[in-house]
Amino acid sequence: MLFELEAVEYSRSDALVLRGLSARLPAGASCVAGPSGSGKSTLLRLLNRLADPDSGRVRYRGEDVRDRDPLALRREVCLVPQLPALLEGTVEENLQFAASCAGREPDGGRLLELAGLDASFAARDAAKLSVGEQQRAMLARALAVEPRVLLLDEPTSALDEAARDAIEATLLDLRHRLEISTVLVTHDLAQARRMAEWVVRIDEGRTVEEGPVAEVLVA
């Protein structure tokens, strides 16, 4: 199993967000689906230790994530947040920064191509890109670290339908070309059907159901 969560509790500002949540996420394309405020994004942040649970365990490939170096874990399990948050400067500078975190030299052209952007975007000011372009630049930046797992927090929530379809196609293509696992968070069950093989449905901080998409999300 890629990730296992066991009786995880997490509170924020004295409000319980995750209430004894247990779930399994296998390698490949997984999805965490649920309504807004159900704790999906919080769950994702626990997977690469951007936060630690108040109680319970999170395991990655059988090992408690708290026994791993958080920096090495995050370079292996990279999170792309819901809203783009690039650093000031050009797209290329963002890629260089990300690659330097993992001690690598970025292949800017290839990274941009993987994320569905052409090479001319390298010199563009990150702040002047559209939201969809910024989201792709965020994806390219995450790929610069060469992760084994990508955690994607509602990557299309701020996009229109056409941009959403394009990002989905890019992500599907990426998974096949790079053979990396993805954990996608979404509130859209139709997107879960399109993008994942395994789904964990959560609500009010608890797992409602989990299993293969074909069985859990019967149309």
Partner: protein
């Protein structure tokens, strides 16, 4: 030591006419500043009179130990004052003590070592006061900006941590902007000095009857000393404080709003 100009208490009192004007303007424009102006005037009279007696006593004693004690007191009060202006940054008192102490001691040490000033109370006390006062303002502004940025840019910082960046790497752009904020006011005033305004030391020397060339040279020395000390204070205060926003596992203590 004799002064070349004599100021009577009546003349000081007469200058309060301008304070009355400021209060009247505040009342007219409903700026609600009357109370603050009143407190500022009373505090300036009490504090400057008290420090005048203290400085006189130190000059009379001609004791470097008393100079060191006075500077230590200024550093402590400066750290307390600056901490109040950077409320969004946790645990800033010790970093501020270190920042102001190092800025003051290193700047004074350097100007003495270079032979610019004699190691005498009549040089060290006024220069120390200026250095620590400016360092305090720079550190407070830099920390204030650091606190605002760490909150306002939490998503950007966490997105960087999510790539495996260390807390230091994630905070570096924020630290850079905080340092600029802390030092830019003095850099700008140094650029415009002599054109748009005359700095205090030069004005004081000219009023006291000094040769303009000497007044300008002393002012340049002090401006450069201040530039060094504000940079030291802003860098140290922010560098020693930013880590309190992160856990040892390079997580933001206060996660961004979902």
């Amino acid at each position: 030591m004799t002064s070349s100009i004599e100021i009577s208490l009546g003349e000081v009192a007469a200058s309060l006419v301008l304070v009355v004007l400021a209060v009247a303007l505040s009342l007219w424009r409903r700026a609600d500043l009357e109370r603050d102006i009143g407190v500022a005037v009373v505090r300036s009279i009490v504090q400057l009179t008290a420090i005048g007696y203290v400085i006189q006593a130190i000059f009379d004693e001609d004791s470097l130990a008393l100079v060191a004690a006075l500077i230590a007191v200024m550093v402590v009060f400066g750290a307390i004052q600056a901490r109040q202006r950077a409320r969004r940054v946790p645990r800033t008192f010790v970093p501020l003590l270190v920042a102001l102490g190092v800025a003051g001691v290193s700047t004074l040490g350097l100007v003495v070592a270079l032979g610019i000033f004699e190691p005498e109370p009549r040089f060290l006390v006024p220069v120390g006061g200026m250095v620590i006062g400016n360092a305090m303002t720079a550190a407070a502004v830099a920390l204030n900006r650091l606190g605002d940025e760490m909150h306002d840019r939490a998503r950007e910082i966490e997105a960087t941590l999510a790539l495996g960046a260390t807390a230091t790497q994630a905070a570096t752009p924020t630290l850079r902007r905080a340092l600029r904020s802390g030092t830019i006011a003095l850099v700008d005033s140094t650029k415009t000095t002599g054109l748009i305004f005359f700095p205090g030391t030069m004005v004081g020397m000219l009023l006291a009857g000094a040769d303009p060339t000497d007044a300008v040279r002393l002012q340049l020395i002090l401006l450069y000393a201040l530039l060094g000390s504000v940079a030291i204070a802003a860098v140290l205060a922010t560098a020693l404080s930013y880590r309190s926003f992160f856990t040892p596992a390079h997580q933001l203590r206060e996660a961004p709003e979902p």
